[in-house]
């Protein structure tokens, strides 16, 4: 049975698509057959982040309306053959997604894939509700900022009441907190909610902390999800999150302000010289 994971947040622009892309590649690179679905109907973007925008022919809504088969719409990722992308449609029809239609697509995908990552749109409308409806796991993407934390809590409420699992009285969706765009320096200064603060307020298991990183913009510029930038802090933090999801016990990194930065930089400089 496939595991269905929704990446959700309530608030917009906090890093859901960035996270969906990196998690999907992360699972595929660990050998799991993975599909990632863009639920943001009308605002397709996952294709750009994954670097497959020019290969989109059919989309999620075409499949639901039976205008194309699932296999025709799925795009094989260029980095990993075990990963497929189902792009969102650019239609403005708000009712393009139906509960039954989404259910059928997920059931069909479940036959061949180990992990199905659902990139939720912002808000609490239909797209967001359907993205979470069939989920087994929820990655709640949160920025250390008041409105994002409040919206995340709101989503936790919906996850525990408006999903198939809750309606059927089955085991609840497993919730995971992913704190993104974290700046240890601002936390030390007292300008930003700390990891401990957010953790205390939301009180769900912590999957990872992704630092605010320039590597993320570089990654989206080039259409190669940041997890593939193995030198980068954000890329490594996403790798750690994957490990934790798979049950490994890895320490949290990039959560303290780097001390004695200049010393490190000097050593790195030396290393570079040595290898040159």
């Amino acid at each position: 049975m496939a595991k269905i994971i929704v990446v959700t947040s309530g608030k917009g622009g906090v890093g859901k698509t960035t996270t969906s892309a990196s998690l999907a590649i992360g699972f595929a690179n660990r050998g799991f057959k993975t599909a990632v679905i863009d639920f943001d109907i009308g605002l397709r973007n996952l294709d750009l982040i994954m670097g497959c925008e020019r290969r989109v022919v059919y989309d999620f809504v075409n499949v639901i309306r039976k205008e194309a088969t699932l296999n025709q719409a799925l795009i094989k990722d260029k980095h990993n053959k075990d990963l497929s992308i189902l792009p969102a449609s650019q239609t403005r029809d708000k009712d393009a997604l139906t509960t039954e239609g989404v259910g059928e697509v997920l059931e069909e995908l479940s036959k061949t894939f180990d992990y199905i990552v659902c990139d939720s749109p912002a808000g609490i409308e239909r797209g967001a509700q359907l993205a979470m409806y069939y989920a087994d796991h929820a990655v709640v993407v949160t920025n250390p900022e008041v409105s994002s934390v409040r919206d995340s809590d709101r989503m936790l409420g919906l996850l525990s009441s408006k999903t198939k699992r809750s309606e059927e009285g089955r085991d609840p969706i497993k919730e995971h907190l992913l704190l993104t765009r974290y700046c240890p320096k601002r936390v030390t200064r007292g300008d930003m909610l700390s990891l401990a603060d957010v953790n205390e307020i939301l009180a769900i298991p912590l999957l990872g902390v992704i630092p605010e990183s320039q590597a993320v913009l570089r990654a989206s510029n080039s259409g190669t999800p940041v997890i593939l930038d193995q030198e980068s802090d954000a890329g490594q933090a996403y790798q750690d999150a994957i490990s934790r999801f798979l049950g490994e016990d890895v320490p949290f990194r990039f959560i303290e302000e780097e001390k004695a930065n200049w010393l490190k930089r000097m050593f790195r400089f030396k290393e570079k010289e040595a290898t040159a």
Partner: protein, 90 residues
Amino acid sequence: MIKNRVSKILDYFRAPESQTAKVAKDRLQIIIAHERGERDKPDYFFALQKELLEVIAKHTAISKDDIKIDMQRGEGCSILELNITLPSQI
């Protein structure tokens, strides 16, 4: 580097009020606790509240503020708490 030092020194002298993260946390804890309480109420709660108020107002002279209705969800059962302050002359 020098900029870094200067900002560290400035931080040291900064008044604790300017540590806005603390304020953010306090505000969040209050609003989220409130919203969680509301969320746990069943959909019929608000209709129930309105109808109870109407029934009681039919027999006594009370205002909306004299009646407090709350619902608490617990393990296995929920408690509906009804608190009515009647006027001294019943």
